[in-house]
C-alpha cells in the first residue's frame, strides 16, 4: 500500500509530460504500487478563481476513484470559505509562491482559522520546479522558511505537509511539531539514510510530484534504501493514512 500526497493533473504551460492522458498517469502510478493519490490542479495555481479550475479537476478525476481531489486555495480570492466548508475536498493546498499577497496578511490567518476549525489537512507547495530551471521571465521564488514556520507556530493544531522541499528546508520545517515534509525534492547520497539521521521517520511522507517528476524516482528513494520494512511502511502510507479520514 502506498499513499502519494503530491500528484497533479491539468494544463501547465511548461509541462512536457510523457503521459498525455490522466489515464496514462494513473496507470504509471498504479504500476509503482501507489494505491491512493491526492491530486490537485496545476491550472488552479494561476487561474484567477481556483474554484472554477478545481471544478474541472473533479470532473476529470471522476473515472478514477483511486484519486482524491485536493482544492487549491488562494487567500486573495475570498471564495475559499465556501470551498473549505464544502464536502468535495478532504485536503487543501496552498502555493504561496504564486500569491499576490504575503503569508503575513490577515486573509491568510482567516483561511488557516477555517482550516483549523474544520480540522482539514493542509498541503503547502513550496515550489513547482527547481528555481535554476525556471523560465527566465517567469521566476517565482519559494516562500521564506521563517514565514512558514511562523504560520505553523500560530496554528499548532493545523496539520501541515510541506511539499517539494529541499533537504535543509525539510530539516528546519519538520522540527515544528505540526509540520511534515514529502520526499519528492529530497535527494542526497542514500537519501533516506541521510534524512533519517536528522529527522524522525514520523515526519516524512511519500509524495512524488508526478507528472512533473517521475513517480518511480520518489519510490526508488524508499525501496532502494537499506532501512527496515516497518520504516518504509511508515513513509509509504502509515504516516499519511491516518490523516485521510479527517473531515
Amino acid at each position: 500500500m502506498i499513499v502519494d500526497l503530491n500528484v497533479h493533473w491539468g494544463h501547465w504551460p511548461r509541462g512536457f509530460w510523457p503521459w498525455k492522458t490522466l489515464g496514462g498517469l494513473v496507470k504509471a502510478l498504479k504500476g509503482c504500487g501507489i494505491t491512493r493519490a491526492l491530486i490537485s490542479s496545476p491550472e488552479s495555481i494561476l487561474y484567477p478563481d481556483p474554484v472554477e479550475t478545481d471544478r474541472i479537476l473533479l470532473t476529470r478525476i471522476k473515472p478514477f476513484p483511486f484519486l482524491t481531489p485536493v482544492a487549491t486555495l488562494n487567500p486573495a480570492v475570498l471564495n475559499f470559505q465556501k470551498q473549505i466548508a464544502g464536502k468535495d475536498f478532504v485536503a487543501f493546498r496552498l502555493v504561496p509562491a504564486f500569491w499576490d499577497c504575503s503569508l503575513k496578511e490577515k486573509t491568510v490567518r482567516k483561511l488557516l482559522t477555517l482550516i483549523q476549525e474544520r480540522k482539514r489537512l493542509l498541503l503547502i507547495q513550496m515550489r513547482l520546479e527547481d528555481e535554476r530551471s525556471q523560465f527566465y521571465p517567469l521566476q517565482v521564488p519559494a516562500p521564506k522558511i521563517t514565514d512558514l514556520l511562523a504560520l505553523a507556530k500560530n496554528f499548532p493544531s493545523v496539520k501541515m505537509v510541506v511539499l517539494n522541499v529541499y533537504f535543509d528546508e525539510a530539516v528546519q520545517l519538520a522540527r515544528q511539531p505540526n509540520v511534515w515534509v514529502d520526499l519528492s525534492f529530497l535527494e542526497r547520497f542514500q537519501t533516506l539514510k541521510s534524512l533519517l539521521t536528522v529527522l524522525p521517520v514520523e515526519k516524512v511522507v511519500f509524495g512524488s510530484h508526478a507528472p512533473f517528476l517521475y513517480p518511480e524516482a520518489a519510490l526508488a528513494k524508499v525501496m532502494c534504501a537499506r532501512i527496515p520494512e516497518r520504516v518504509k511502511g511508515a513513509i509509504l502510507f502509515r504516516n499519511s493514512q491516518r490523516w485521510l479520514s479527517i473531515g
Partner: protein, 256 residues
C-alpha cells in the same frame, strides 16, 4: 523496476567524490548494478578558480582511485585559466596516469580562447571532454557555460567527443542548440528527476548520444537510485535504455 531491460550492468559516466575512502560508494553502486563509474574529480573543492597545486591534488586523488579500483575510469579536472603551459602539462601528466578524458567545470566560459588549448590537447591525445553546462535562471556561477556557449567548440573540434553534463539543466533549448553536432553527447544528470526531457532528447538526438550520469557527489549530493530511476522509468524503448545505461559509455571509451 519492471522495465524489462534484463540483468545488464550500468555505467555511470558522471561521478564525483570528496574522499578517496569510497567503499560505501562502491558498495551502494554495486547494489544497484552500477559496475563501472567515471570519476570526474572533486571539481568544486577549492572554489571556481583553483590554483595549479589544487588542480594537481584533485587529479592525484582521481589517479589514485583509478589505479586502485579497476571498475573506475578517470577524467582530468582542468582550470583553463591557469595558462597554456600548465594546462597542457597537467593534461599530459594525467594522460600518462591513464586518464581517459578532461573535465571542465565553471572556471572559464567555453567561448574563452583559453578553452581551445584544452580542446587541441584533447584532440592530440585522443581524449574525451566533459563540459558542465546549464541554462540557469538564477544566474551563472563563475565562468559557467550555457549550452549555446559550447556551440563554437563543437564546430571547431568535430573530432573531439564532447559530453555535455546535465541534460535536465540544459533542457529542451540546450538539446536543440547542440543537436547538429554528432560528436556531442549529453549525460542524463542535473536537477530534480524531471519527467519528459529524456524522452525528448531520445527523440531529437537519438539514444546513441545520451549517457547515464548520476552526478553523485559522494558522500553528499545525489542518489544513485533516483538517477537510475530517471532512465529506467522513461517512456523510451528497452534497447534505448540499454544504450543509455551502458552501451554508449562502453563504445565511447572503447571498452567491452
Amino acid at each position: 523496476m519492471k522495465d524489462r531491460i534484463g540483468k545488464i550492468s550500468f555505467y555511470d559516466f558522471h561521478v564525483h567524490t570528496r574522499t578517496t575512502e569510497i567503499f560505501p560508494l562502491l558498495e551502494e553502486a554495486a547494489g544497484l548494478r552500477i559496475s563501472r563509474m567515471n570519476i570526474l574529480g572533486d571539481v568544486l573543492r577549492f572554489g571556481y578558480y583553483p590554483e595549479k597545486e589544487q588542480v594537481k591534488q584533485i587529479n592525484d586523488e582521481t589517479g589514485y582511485l583509478i589505479k586502485r579500483y579497476r571498475c573506475l575510469t578517470g577524467f582530468a579536472f582542468i582550470n583553463p585559466g591557469l595558462g597554456e603551459k600548465l594546462v597542457i602539462a597537467e593534461i599530459e601528466r594525467c594522460a600518462g596516469l591513464g586518464f581517459r578524458g578532461i573535465k571542465l567545470e565553471v572556471s572559464v566560459n567555453a567561448r574563452d580562447r583559453r578553452v581551445r588549448v584544452v580542446m587541441e590537447t584533447a584532440r592530440r591525445l585522443n581524449m574525451i571532454v566533459v563540459h558542465h553546462s546549464w541554462y540557469k535562471a538564477t544566474g551563472k556561477s563563475g565562468g559557467e557555460s550555457e549550452p549555446a556557449d559550447l556551440v563554437p567548440l563543437a564546430e571547431a573540434f568535430p573530432e573531439v567527443p564532447l559530453v555535455v553534463a546535465h541534460l535536465r539543466g540544459c533542457g529542451f533549448r540546450g538539446i536543440q542548440d547542440l543537436k547538429p553536432y554528432p560528436q556531442v553527447y549529453f549525460d542524463t544528470s542535473g536537477s530534480q528527476p524531471v519527467a519528459g526531457i529524456l524522452e525528448y532528447a531520445v527523440e531529437q538526438l537519438g539514444p546513441e548520444r545520451i549517457l547515464f550520469g548520476s552526478d553523485v557527489y559522494f558522500p553528499g549530493g545525489r542518489d544513485f537510485s533516483v538517477q537510475l530511476a530517471c532512465v529506467r522509468a522513461a517512456r523510451i524503448g528497452k534497447s534505448e535504455k540499454k544504450l543509455i545505461l551502458s552501451g554508449n559509455a562502453l563504445r565511447l571509451l572503447g571498452e567491452k
